[in-house]
Amino acid sequence: MNETPLIHAGVKRCSKWQFSLWMAGVTAVLLWGVYAMFLCWFKGLNQTNMNDAYGFALWIWADLAVIALGGGAFFSGFLTYIVGKDELKNIINYAVIIGFICYSSALLILAIDIGQPLRGWFIFWHANVHSMLTEVAFCLSCYFAVLTIEFIPLILENPKLERKPFLHHLSHNMHGIMAIFAATGVFLSFFHQGSLGGVAGVLFGRPFAYREHIFIWPFTFFLFTWSAAACGPCFTILVTKITEKITRKKLVKDNVIHLLAKISGWMLLTYIIAKTADTLYWAMVTAPNAGFTLMDFYASPTYNIGLLFAEIVLCGFIPGLILITKRGRENAFLLNTAIVLAVIGVSLNRWVMVLQVMAVPVFSFNDWYTYLPSWQEVATTVLPVAYGLIVISLAHRYLPVFPQEKELNPVK
């Protein structure tokens, strides 16, 4: 009896040796991160360079950033299954995998970040329904479950697994009701992306972070959801482009990328207009009410007004305008520049909303607080990147991630 191959017929993959060598390299980096993770768990958070003024630091930024970048999964899912943009079915698998990596990473980082990891379940059991972090924890976990469910059918399409009748049917039946899962994912994502914005926006003791509210939600709630929907797909495109570069083949047709880029562009442009309005209101009304001028918040050499410019103009308006124009999207250089800028922009926004919040002195007699992460913090933040590379490598090698791959790369 012939053994079913692990790799799909009709696609070309690198040799076992090449693959093993690559995986060994990435695993070495992963192990470095795992070592640092265990240091943090066994010795405590004294392994970090955080302090009482900098209680939120690199990890919380990493959390917010990967969740924003993983937002490509929910927004592409929304566009594919609910709006009905069928072309996007050619990239949705990858969006889901990237989302899965981002969300599992976020959960792992959170598990390292808390001082008493064994008590992590308290956030569910003793939930304070008024806390933004509670909402984040609930929706994050639920949405991770949804992403896992969205990922499973793809895993089950591996030739070896697909041979099993039950798994074959399960994959098919899960596909059949994917729209329901996608809708649930959109619902959950709307809230947790927003609540992550709320985490900073509700801090009325921190004038740099605090924003006016609409009902119970600060402006940042809406801005975070919006920016994740805008920039998440850009990250999906970016990772797709990198994957194409590394595998040296085209995996997704241009019209698919251009459609996603166009929608992203409009989302980004409208987001950045809303963000500008929010910034103006905050600078002219909210902050002065607390006794601060805008420049008080940017009076440090590190945190200067250039950051605001970079976030709004350089990484907001510019990529937004590039992506909404046909010529911009279809020019490879401009498209790549725009998606990289958008990804940097949303990461910068999350950085500012975590680390600058901590850095700005609230007392007139305090100085700016400074912080440089320890190697353990850096290693545990690099860990998810290595883990992501491993998952992507395995997925690309063994699963039919890109439906257009065979058509675009016929094997002679």
């Binding site: 569910f124 003793h126 008024h130 909402e135 697909e162 009748p165 049917h169 039946n173 649930t184």
Partner: protein, 59 residues
Amino acid sequence: MFPFCFEWSWDISHLVFMGGLWYALSIIGAGMTFAIVKSLFDISGGHGGHDDNHDHSHH
């Protein structure tokens, strides 16, 4: 999280928040149960290793 946790109270915040949570969890749970049960039916119905509606044929 549950009404039997001692800090639970039947106020509007708990109802809205936990209502949303349990609603989402129910859909996820029901969806997965449906998919699993239907797959079990499908194989017992003698469909074997492939499905007529599945465009991903490999045999």
